[in-house]
């Protein structure tokens, strides 16, 4: 079980979570529980590190920001004990959760679950702070923001157990219900689709955790924390394709407004030019998402368009401008008022016409497509950010995802 920060926002929430754990424990389940920090706490700690210096030592950053999960782990163990449920907290180094030495973005390398299983033999619930592990040098590490999902899936994989992710929504929806009230909760979704939805902006699960679940075949369920237990709705099960009977062409629609677009006009159309542009960006640690290079009409100059995260826009422009000795162009245009809309569905591999439905629906709504990018189970388009809501609604309806 993994509980997120909104599920552990205060002592009342922690008691609610403990009651749920007690029910499962009373029913005879062996439980390992991964916890996030109290809602808002990690932001507070990150802000403290930011106030302490522009470029903090990631090892010390980890010491500071990992403390939030340590607090909730101890508090939850206390509350469980008070309810008569044997419980103890295990710090990352105690389990142990061995990671790489890449502070602030460490990878889990090995988990020894012996102490957790020993605890189960004593009917003890193990509480593990998410997000943290320790390095080969014996120092505390963190897995990067949202890393508690990854901790949970990794512990579940090591225990050969299913993983329930408890959160503040009922499950995975066809799109964000705050934007499209007709959005439906999905009963099942494949790992691959969940991965694309997470990568394209759906915030329900961290991308790395889904990759890890896919790689280790961990049965994953996304569930609501605060449901009335007597009428607890089923969440969304993330599973293999063959466990889903009726496959939709499109399972969900994700969107992200954290995008920015850069266009280089009049780029010399010569072999290796794309590599030079992307190399300059990679050197500046800018991740590029969508890339379009127009066919040049005269065979001499062309236009080159790509998207980056909005937070990286300034760095990306700087990187291109200072690479003018290698990359020549006539003009650089940048724009941050763009949104990426993605339709995702494993069924689109077998069904023709999925792309056409998308383009038709957007055209009917009078929404202009700026850039297109596709993968085997996903089509993404870049549009004016002000059209986000209308686009998502039009697509949700066009693919028949609206609730009956």
């Amino acid at each position: 079980m993994k509980f997120g920060g909104t599920s552990l926002a205060d002592v009342k929430c922690i008691r609610h979570v403990a009651s749920h754990i007690k029910r499962e424990w009373t029913a005879g389940q062996d439980l390992a529980v991964i916890v996030s920090a109290m809602g808002g706490e990690t932001n507070r700690l990150v802000a403290l590190t930011a106030a302490c210096g522009g470029n903090p030592d990631p090892a010390e950053y980890d010491v500071v920001v990992a403390s939030g999960e340590q607090v909730t782990a101890g508090l939850l163990a206390m509350v469980l004990q008070g309810m008569g449920v044997p419980a103890r907290s295990w710090a990352g180094r105690q389990v142990p959760i061995q990671t790489s030495g890449d502070h602030a973005r460490a990878r889990i390398e090995d988990i020894d679950v012996t102490p957790i299983k020993d605890g189960w033999a004593r009917k003890e619930v193990s509480i593990i702070p998410g997000f943290q592990g320790f390095s080969p040098q014996g120092r505390l590490t963190t897995l990067g923001r949202g890393g508690s999902d990854t901790s949970a899936v990794a512990v579940a994989a090591a225990l050969n157990a299913p993983c329930d992710i408890y959160t503040d929504v009922e499950g995975v929806f066809t799109t964000d219900p705050r934007v499209v009230p007709e959005a439906r909760k999905l009963d099942r979704i494949t790992y691959e689709e969940m991965l694309e939805l997470a990568a394209q902006g759906a915030k329900v699960l961290q991308t790395r955790s889904v990759e890890l679940a896919l790689a280790n075949n961990v049965p994953l369920q996304v569930r609501l924390s605060f449901a009335d237990p007597a009428h607890a709705p089923q969440g969304t099960i993330v599973c293999d394709e063959d466990e889903i009977v009726e496959q939709q062409r499109v399972s969900g629609i994700a969107f992200s407004q954290d995008e920015a677009k850069i266009t280089l006009l009049g780029v010399a159309d010569e072999p290796g030019i794309a590599g030079k542009i992307l190399g300059a960006l990679a050197d500046a640690s800018v991740n590029v998402d969508m890339i379009v290079q127009n066919v040049s009409e005269d065979g001499r100059v062309t236009d080159f368009t790509f998207t980056v995260g909005k937070a990286d826009l300034e760095r990306a422009v700087g990187a291109i401008e200072s690479a003018q000795d290698r990359v020549s162009y006539r003009e650089l245009m940048s724009e941050s008022g763009v949104a990426k809309i993605s339709v995702v569905g494993i069924g689109m591999r077998a069904h023709a016409g999925v792309a056409r439905t998308m383009f038709d629906a957007l055209a009917t709504a009078g929404i202009n497509i700026q850039v297109i990018s596709t993968s085997e189970i996903k089509i993404s388009v870049l549009i004016d950010a002000r059209e986000t809501e209308r686009a998502v609604k039009a697509l949700h309806s066009a693919y028949g995802l609206d609730q009956a």
Copy 2:
């Protein structure tokens, strides 16, 4: 060096502390720095544990409350690095600081300072969260409230180094300057006097840390954190008696209003009765401070008076009432509106008349003494709490402690 919570209350304070460390480091000092949690943070964490259950598991309590020092240690290391001073934080288990397994009140048993000395060889400042260590079972432990002073003295003893305690006052005063404006800062005070002052209510140092400094002969200095470095006043040096040239009869006056008094009237005057009363209180984990048993006039019944911490009053009364099968008495009277005033001075061993000066001064001020208790270098009296300020002022003047 040890910095308390008010010296680390926010990022601005942490920067100030770092500037001071940098000056000492630049001057060629090898430094280990012990830090408290940000002011108020430990109270916040303790309140969270209290809200999570009436009788929390002390092992989980430690996991939660030790996190505050972890945060300041990481932040201070970051700020120092940003100033060009090599620094790293060491958790209790990393140093390691080995303690007993008594969670929430662990005793330090062994400190291996090799990593700190290795750091010095690299010109690195070691930052160590105070208050924490780890148990023989490998779990995080804490030393009890105010334990960061004890951490600092223990690390200094292991390093065979002097220990500077930086705090929000200029040093140790003859009494609290907020009560007596004429109070003087002491240039030197003996370990024994500091111990009595701390035990009798002066809040400048934790009692255990002074005991540890005395036992290991650690030179201790109490200093102001926020002084202008160019005109930094000397603090108070806590040292052996033979290092003090002019010994006063009385060095300081401490007071505490956290006291309560219980009187048992009509107690059977028989051998072992005091042991039975104190045994009942010890069974309820109530610490008794002052004890007075009157001489009985008729040889059959007597009165028995003792004081306890105000927070323990209810538990103490309950313990006596439920021990009526062993302890018979006519009536129990309890009062929490009392204060304990103590005059402390190693010189009183050699000077007669110190007690008489005290009683005369209080009588002249019309203040009634309820209970008296003495040790070799201390006289304490219990009075009406409303007379505290007048009593302390009268005694401060009577012993010639007022500033010239």
